[in-house]
Amino acid sequence: MFGEDEIIRSHSSRAHALGNVILIAFAILLSRLWYLQIYKGPDLLEWSLKNRLRKEIVKAPRGMVFSRNGQLIVDNIPRFDAVLTPQYFKNKDNTLKNLSAILNMPVEKIKKRMLKKSTMASYKPIIIKKNISRKEVALIETENSDLHGVSVETFISREYRDKETGAHLLGYISEINKKQLPKYKKRDNKNYQLGDFIGQFGLEEQLDTTLRGQNGHEYVEVDALGRKKKHIKKDNLFAGIENKRSVPGLNVRLTIDRDMQLSGFKALEGKVGGAVAVSLKTGEILAMVSTPSFDPSQFSRGLSTEYWSSLVNNVDNPLRDRTIQEHYSPGSTFKMVTAVALLEEGLIDENTEIKCTGKFKLGRRNYHCWKKYGHGKVKLFKALRESCNIYFQKLSLKLDIDILAKYARMFGFGLKSGIKLPREVSGLFPTKEWKKKRNGIDWQLGETLSCAIGQSFVLASPLQMAMAYSVLGNGGTLYKPTLVKEVFSNSGEIIKRIEPVITKKIIISEKTQRLVKEGLYQVANHPKGTGWWRSIRKGLQLSGKTGTSQVKSASSSENLYEKCENKDYNDRHHGHFIGFGPKSDPQVAVAATIEHGCHGSSAALPIVTAIMSTYMKKYLPNMQKEFEILEKKVFAKEMAKRRKIKQRADEEKEQKKKLKEKTEEILEVI
């Protein structure tokens, strides 16, 4: 402890200095107090007694959404809420009585609402009734003097012009809930509060930060009853509090064609399924619809419990997007990929012939063709157009599943397409390794046969199916599907333009392309083709493929050939059709899936032709007319031929009959 005294003494000047620091700090505090309490005192006293300052949030209008042709799809419209501010709530019984009469709402219910929010600061308004009518607004404004503390607040509500059409794609906005609050605060580094609206589904969710503007605020002076007086006067005491203007959200032009969207939805209505149309040359989505659907406007207006429970209790789950959030076995539509793989690997050519007797046996299992007694001798074109299972199954014996998987991946199967929408499923295409990992069992040869015709493990969403066929249609480019063409501000300035993005380019030989395309063309344009009857005469020059996927595997050959329409609804097959066209210069690929629709041709094909027709009539009207005449001629010719055959058959029958009669006559004579 030697010498500590001196050390402390040597610091005494600093101790004095610190004493001065304390005094100076107090002097500053006191002079500020003098300024506020003496100089500004009377003014501020008046403020505290008579006037109040209120901060009002000015909500930014959300960006609008347009179709590719500039038609408005999603708009904003004002909505009014009746609110009550506890601070100005006086003459309580009378006010409550008047309010309950105007809003047609029991007093008890109003009190309940207020009680629920009783922990909030009393200057914050409580919403009593949302979305009130204009008449109610007028009544509240005129009876203001009898309604102490009641006022009307304006909100901007989201209006989806085409209601249920494309609801899954557009999504909806609704109030952020307590569970989401911390998550979204972190994600966007933004201070969301309860009552803020955010995109919760589809594009509204995906583009939330683009569409959302920045809220502003405004300070208003209100009188003792909470009525707005005027905008706050400039006063240096309030320097630093400034009104902030709201910044409107950015608008978005989609790649979606509204007409195709509408016709697709109309065709789907009443069924359960989804359809996707994609531009072959850019990967732009032209239409994307799913049914059953919902009305997104209901969400932004404050969902009624009745509507919500009607959605939740619907067994078909209207909130599910069947274009990207659901995957199905693609069934025979997958034969396109198998055909490409077989040709590219040099295992077959167009003349390879297989005999289809309706079934064939591998090990202890029987494999069946959909046609009970078989297709007879089958070559590539016939196999595709008549969708012969045996042809592909027998040939795929030579094909390793991993090789087939390589081709499946080339067409985008088993991989997320990368579309910018939330919650896309990835689908599935198996490999040996995958199976071993999942089940611990080695790959069975029989499973290759099932996968070759798109059954068993293979799963794909309608979007993936459309993308796969677009790869063939455009000659080998897999695009990343896009939904947004450009983002632009209210003044029309283009902020962002989205260019096509290529996921990968694959190489398929010219010959393979030609052969498979021809096979698919015959599906819709050869009288024996599975899609002929429902697509010819529409003038589409469609190429495509039907497909069905079994929901329940058939246990015996008896119910294998049972008529699908006679089964229980939940046991019926899903029907698919994927097509592209026109043949000479393919531009659009469309995929449709109908759950429990039984057949690809009867259930899904009409959806595809509806969407495709809309495209053709809108963008290639001359070509469409020309094709229509052509196809009608083909149809007439075929019909004439069929009539002739029938006639001949009738004549033969007649002759036989005559012959029989003659012999009988002769016999009688004898």
Binding site: M1, G3, E4, D5, E6, I7, I8, S10, H11, S12, R14, A15, A17, L18, G19, I22, A25, F26, I28, L29, L30, R32, L33, W34, L36, Q37, I38, K40, G41, P42, D43, L44, L45, W47, S48, L49, L53, K55, Q87, S118, T119, A121, S122, Y123, P182, N189, K190, N191, L237, F238, G240, I241
Partner: protein, 371 residues
């Protein structure tokens, strides 16, 4: 026998001045707290003054016990305490309890505590020991700023990311005051402050990309808005100003009863006090705080060991900055960072910290008689 005489002697010479001032300020504080919350229609807030009374009793009890610890033990365990406290801070960041969107609490069975509160004291102890051990005879320059700077900066950063900007700043300010007391050369002070200002400006202007700058600004702005501080600041100014010279009278605060100030029982107690007691009341209150600070200063010059002297300055600075920053912010002189006013604001953790500070100071004072 000797021991008994010793204890009696000790208690006879027990320094009651610190506890005395603190109790007087607290009585004003509890009355004010009652006024600020009595009108609240909320059950939770209504009983707040009772909780505050209990907590104050606990804090004083702990402080009294602490006053019997011999100062040389602070010296001996300074770094250990500092190390343990840092560890607790890191623990909070990893697994702390969330309160109001910030991680501050550590829960050990029935005990919840905020390591950041104790950190203020731990930093003072560690700094005092370092400065005592390193050339206490000479003036200090840039070189002697490095290690103590790190001692303060590291925990300050840990506290700021919790995030608790206010407490983090207090730790840094306490460090600056101790460094100043420890004869930091005037030349160094000028050079360091110019360099800090320049570096800060240049960093912001050129070192950051536009979006980063924007992010910093919105971060600051957003946290401000999160607590509605811009609005609170105005309401606070209205409350203070409307008090004028004599105030509106006890329990007559209109701003409090209307719940204009959502935090009127914590950060904004001083505005309520001003509204009700006016300029005269504030002068009285400031005088009481002044007496407390000068009592600490006097202690720092009258102790026998340099370590004790540094400790006294450090403890004083904790009280001083809490008081000045809190008052400054409710008057609109400073941005609102969220710091309690010592002994006036509601809050058990801060009361406990101040109680411990007072206990240590009393211990230092008593030790002069028994070395």
């Amino acid at each position: 026998m000797n021991l008994k005489i010793d204890i009696v002697n000790y208690l006879k010479k027990y320094d009651l001045s610190f506890f005395g001032i603190v109790i007087i300020i607290f009585i004003i504080g509890i009355l004010n707290l009652y006024s600020a919350t009595h009108a609240a229609n909320k059950v939770v807030l209504g009983a707040i003054y009772k909780k505050q009374l209990i907590m104050f009793g606990v804090a004083m009890g702990v402080g009294f016990l602490v006053s019997f610890i011999r100062p040389k033990n602070y010296f001996r365990f300074a770094y250990v305490l500092y190390g343990l406290n840092i560890f607790a801070l890191i623990l909070v960041l990893i697994m702390g309890n969330k309160a109001l969107g910030a991680q501050r609490w550590l829960v050990l069975g029935p005990i919840r505590f905020q390591p950041s509160e104790m950190m203020k004291i731990s930093v003072v102890l560690a700094l005092a020991r370092w400065y005592t051990k390193n050339n206490p005879h000479t003036e200090t320059g840039l070189k002697e700023l490095v290690v103590p700077g790190l001692i303060a900066l590291f925990p300050a950063m840990l506290i700021i990311v919790e995030p608790d900007l206010g407490t983090g700043l207090i730790v840094l300010l306490v460090f600056l005051m101790i460094a100043f007391y420890r004869r930091l050369k005037w030349k160094t002070i000028i050079i360091v402050s110019i360099m800090a200002a320049l570096a800060g400006g240049v960093m912001f202007e050129f070192g950051l990309k536009n979006y980063q700058k924007q992010r910093i600004l919105t971060f600051l702005d957003d946290t401000a808005d999160a607590r509605g501080t811009g609005y609170n600041a105005i309401q606070s100014k209205i409350a203070i100003g409307s008090g004028q010279i004599f105030g509106k009278g006890y329990k007559k605060s209109s701003q409090a009863s209307l719940n204009y100030l959502p935090e009127n029982h914590t950060d904004f107690v001083f505005s309520i006090f001003n509204e009700e007691h006016g300029l005269l009341g504030s002068i009285l209150l400031l005088a009481l705080y002044g007496i407390l600070f000068f009592r600490f200063l006097w202690l720092s010059t009258s102790v026998l060991r340099f370590f004790d002297s540094l400790l006294a300055i450090g403890l004083m600075s904790i009280f001083f900055f809490h008081t000045v920053v809190n008052m400054g912010m409710v008057m609109g002189l400073m941005p609102i960072v969220g710091l309690p006013l010592p002994l006036m604001s509601y809050g058990g953790s801060s009361l406990l910290t101040f109680g411990v500070c007072i206990g240590i100071a009393t211990g230092l004072s008593n030790s002069r008689n028994f070395f």
